[in-house]
């Protein structure tokens, strides 16, 4: 099935990637190099997949259990890694992803290394788009709330944050949990549109993919990684001739962004905005000056 010439599978993958990108944005915005999204996507995906396939477990119960597990695990992970920063947090959360993968592989009830087949397709491009819109709205509201301000201050300088009355640990916990929930949603979306999930879908390649959305899209605004996900999922696929080279295209795109536009699409859009604003201001000033000139020479 195609919509606007693009297969529904591609729409769905793009939507999933956009939600995953937002999940990463939240922790990055708080200054945490937390790379655990793939792990929480795995938990969300498996919870939904098992519930969807099972005749015993109703769908909503699976979703609820997935939610509870994600919350608990996110709190534990954030608590354990509370004192870590920068690259050390990155390494710790990377290890977390591997741990989740291994836990799935050794567990026969979760399908082991083979994965789960035959998951019913319960998601449509329309509902996926709705989810993207809802999650985007959530991200925007969070950034405009007190938590958003606190996150930005903690990111910039956690000592200044303390002197502002911000409990840095609580802010990091809240951000980690919110990010994990959204990652879980992305994982569930993934499970419901691809017939099959396996532990290897939620490992290092996925992590690199999410990071590349953030790099290309830009991390200064919440919509940055969203645009990055859109570009990097669509662009390599749209031209039939290039489809075989899509990995090279993705790589080239990421590289050129890092070299030429390190701020990503966010940087480009913001510069464009201020450029247009300055042009308008300049036009405004010129017209005021010319009106003043005309006033002086106008005689009744």
């Amino acid at each position: 099935m195609t919509i606007l010439g693009i297969t529904s599978a591609l729409w769905l993958t793009t939507c999933t990637n956009m939600v995953a990108a937002i999940s990463f944005y939240l922790v990055y915005a708080a200054g945490m190099m937390n790379l655990s999204q793939a792990g929480f996507m795995a938990i969300g995906a498996y919870a939904i997949a098992i519930a969807a396939k099972s005749s015993v477990v109703p769908f909503w119960l699976g979703a609820l259990l997935g939610f509870v597990v994600i919350t608990t695990v996110a709190l534990m992970l954030a608590g354990i890694t509370a004192r870590l920063g920068g690259i050390y947090l990155g390494m710790a959360t990377l290890a977390f992803i591997i741990v989740i993968q291994q836990l799935i592989i050794i567990n026969p009830h979760l399908g082991g290394a083979v994965g789960i087949h035959g998951i019913p397709r319960l998601i449509t491009p329309a509902s996926a788009l709705c989810i993207v819109v809802l999650v985007s709205f959530l991200a925007r509201v969070i950034m405009k709330s007190r938590l958003g301000y606190e996150m930005r201050i903690v990111r910039e300088d956690h000592i200044a944050a303390q002197s502002m009355g911000i409990n840095v640990l609580v802010v990091r916990l809240q951000t980690s949990v919110l990010s994990a929930w959204i990652a879980g949603i992305a994982g569930a979306m993934e499970a419901l549109h691809t017939n099959f999930i396996g532990p290897h879908d939620f490992g290092f390649p996925l992590l690199i993919g999410i990071l590349s959305f953030a790099i290309v899209g830009g991390t200064d605004r919440w919509w940055g990684p969203l645009i990055g996900a859109l570009l990097l999922t669509f662009l390599p696929q749209t031209t039939r001739a290039f489809r075989d080279y899509r990995e090279i295209i993705s790589g080239a795109l990421i590289l050129s962004v890092m070299l030429a536009f390190p701020e990503g699409t966010v940087g480009i859009v913001l510069r464009l905005r201020s450029f247009i604003y300055k042009k308008k201001a300049l036009i405004g000033i010129r017209s005021i000056l010319s009106m003043q000139k005309n006033e002086k020479t106008f005689k009744i």
Binding site: L138, V141, I142, K144, S145, R146, L147, Y149, E150, R152, I153, R155, E156, D157, I159, A160, A161, Q162, S163, M164, G165, I166, N167, V168, Q174, D220
Partner: protein, 255 residues
Amino acid sequence: MTTVISAHHLHKSFGGINAVNDVSVSFEEKRLYGLIGPNGAGKSTLINLLSGQLSVDSGIIEYQGRDITQAPPHIRSRKGVGRTFQHTRLTEAMTLLETVISGCLISKRAGILAYLLQIPSTRLKYLSSRGEAQIILELVGLEDLANSMVRELSWADQRLLEIARALALKPKILLLDEPTAGMHVEALPRVAVLLKNLVEQGLSVVVIEHNVPFISNTVNYVYAMDSGSIIADGAPSDVLKSKEVIQSYLGEFHE
């Protein structure tokens, strides 16, 4: 005159160095204090101990009569101990208004879920924060730049913005670490007037300063430190003439 902060017999050492050695100070409301001394005297360390960034090895710190020696820094800030830093720690990617608004929201404990659900009392908190932020920026003299980005500000304005942000949390005492450092001489009167205003409105303000004329003209009471101890305290005119203080800055005087 009520005492806002009183500290007794504070000790803090790093390795073998006694950064703060048996220091006792007391700060009252409606007064402007100067904390002077050569570099390395322990002034910033003392401020860090009072605001909670460092924990004391021994000693007691009391805020409005209550012991806060073990309280973490963010709790002390919420209770009313405000501070600025020697090197500005501002978020560059915000506007001035947003910087001060963030302080207001934190002090009002404006809920996040409540904001999501647009509960009226929380909406009020967010709206009133905007107004308060405007007023604070006017107090500090930065209202014209309210919508500029922090990274576009001059150094002096950044220092003033830091004070504005600290004010957003409604402190009872302000600990300012070299607020005029690096400022152009013409910006100094603005700071002096601001500090006098704040003191008149009931705050206790403590300033670490190296600028002697600034101290002698604006401050009510001076503590002088050297090598971790208080070597003199009292009215500016007395302290600045004291032999120990002059020696600490200029070295031993040999006839």
